[in-house]
Amino acid sequence: MSNNKKAFVQGLRDGLPIGLGYFAVAFSLGFMAKKCMLTPLQGFIGSFFTRASAGEYGVYTMVVQDASYLAVIVMCLITNLRYLLMSTALSQKFSPDTSFIKRILTGCCVTDEIFGISIAYPGYLNPYYTFGAASISTPMWACGTMMGIIAGSILPSRAVSALSVALYGMFLAIIIPPSKKDKAVCIAVIVSFLLSYMCRKLDIFERLNLSSGTITIILTIVISSIAAIIRPVLTNTDEMDS
């Protein structure tokens, strides 16, 4: 048991800087949520149990547009598809005797950053490490969102304007390093920028009356599919096979 306790404490320690980053970014997510008419309590509950910046951002923009519930499900599926991949990767990282409950809880903890440190854990993943990291970063994420919603109306507009780009800064920090390593990702990102700009500026799309969230979903499926066809990704097993 003491081993689990040690892993939990280690998780808390590694989760703290993640939590600090979350707090700042969640603050700017809170501004967004405020613009989308969410109350502080809704922001807190939504963030506490979801913990997905892009997904929450996407859903909150749909709230203000009064989108259909089905569109919200599709939005969550698309913006969080990467969790499917991360969760799959983590499933390979468990010791075979890890219980079903611990697997479920670890799955719920998955975010980009928590996944990042969990997959880097030496040897089999001790779930308590992931629990430790999530138990400190999750409240910070939820409180950040709530305080962003509260402060959105108190802070001067200049500060709100500056803080509202924190979220996009975080998105850039996620997409740029892989773009540097992989030319295919780099091209996919540039094409995404261009097509996104065009779709939101061109008259045709405005007349079709597509919401911003729907454009995001369509562009993601189209661009990712084309990239997957042109530049399929080789896996470790392929490399081992060949």
């Binding site: 969410l38 997905a52 989108a67 697997r103 996620i174 990702v185 530049r231 990704v233």
Partner: protein
């Protein structure tokens, strides 16, 4: 018809966590399909890129400040800075530029 915000949030919580839990509990073998593997590989980057641009300079009071934040954000992320420092740099750029309008 006006939808309920709480139901939106409930759907978001359920969908997001189901995505997280299904593979980790059910998948014991590697996904073999190359297209799905590759598609999943590109999805996060494409989604985030589409969400970032052009929104990053539409959310700020001055579009020029937003573009500057984009450029400096890309440069600092390229240089290897983490999520938190990149976010702070983007905020500072917007704050400073909007303090001294050109």
């Amino acid at each position: 018809m006006k939808h309920s915000v709480w139901i939106y949030i409930l759907i978001m919580i359920l969908t997001t966590n189901i995505i997280r839990v299904i593979p980790i509990t059910l998948v014991r073998k590697q996904i073999k399909n190359h297209f799905i593997q590759s598609f999943l590989y590109y999805v996060p980057y494409v989604t985030l890129a589409v969400m970032t641009f052009p929104a990053i300079f539409e959310t700020t009071s001055s579009p020029i400040a937003g573009i500057a934040a984009l450029v400096l954000g890309i440069i600092s992320a390229w240089a290897g800075l983490g999520l938190f420092p990149v976010s702070v740099i983007c905020c500072l750029v917007v704050f400073i530029l909007e303090l001294f309008p050109l």
